[in-house]
Subunit: 96 residues, 2 copies
């Protein structure tokens, strides 16, 4: 979970996820639309892939990437669980 | 949003949020229950506070911290938006 959050916590990787939100994209298209150099894009896609946030599908000479929705769900559920507990927590204060 | 995700993406800070999920805690109690040295705990609480994830309330000589639920909601909504788009995205592939 920490590595997944670390993968998300980068402005370029958030831009990549935003570019992938409407469906699978070819890496050759991502370099153009994100105006990101190929090596940098490849590095960030590798981080996202290793964190389980995106998956790649080889099609000919290029790899096409898509978001793994369940990975995002898991983070949402972690945060929601903490948030729901915090919202319903009573006014019990530490005496110190 | 990036700074908020960066604040979350740390194992110690996730432990702190977990310790705060059931309500406001005094920093003096957190050092014990988390087995974290005071300076390190203070550093992480500062990062969480500056990211808008927790707020501190001074009570006597100690500060009591609590989670800011809306901050977590905002991250959840960001992720949910991307996830929902990705799930409903059609099979339109890049031709390249």
């Amino acid at each position: 979970m920490v590595s997944r959050l670390q993968a998300l916590a980068d402005p370029n990787r958030l831009r990549i996820l935003d570019a992938l939100r409407n469906g699978e994209r070819c890496v050759c298209r991502l370099t153009d639309s994100l105006e990101m150099a190929q090596p940098l894009l490849s590095h960030h896609l590798k981080v996202l892939r290793e964190a389980g946030l995106v998956s790649g599908r080889k099609d000919g000479r290029w790899v096409h990437y898509s978001i793994i929705p369940d990975a995002l769900s898991e983070i949402e559920m972690l945060l929601a669980g903490v948030r729901e507990d915090a919202v319903t927590a009573g006014p019990i204060l530490d005496r110190c």
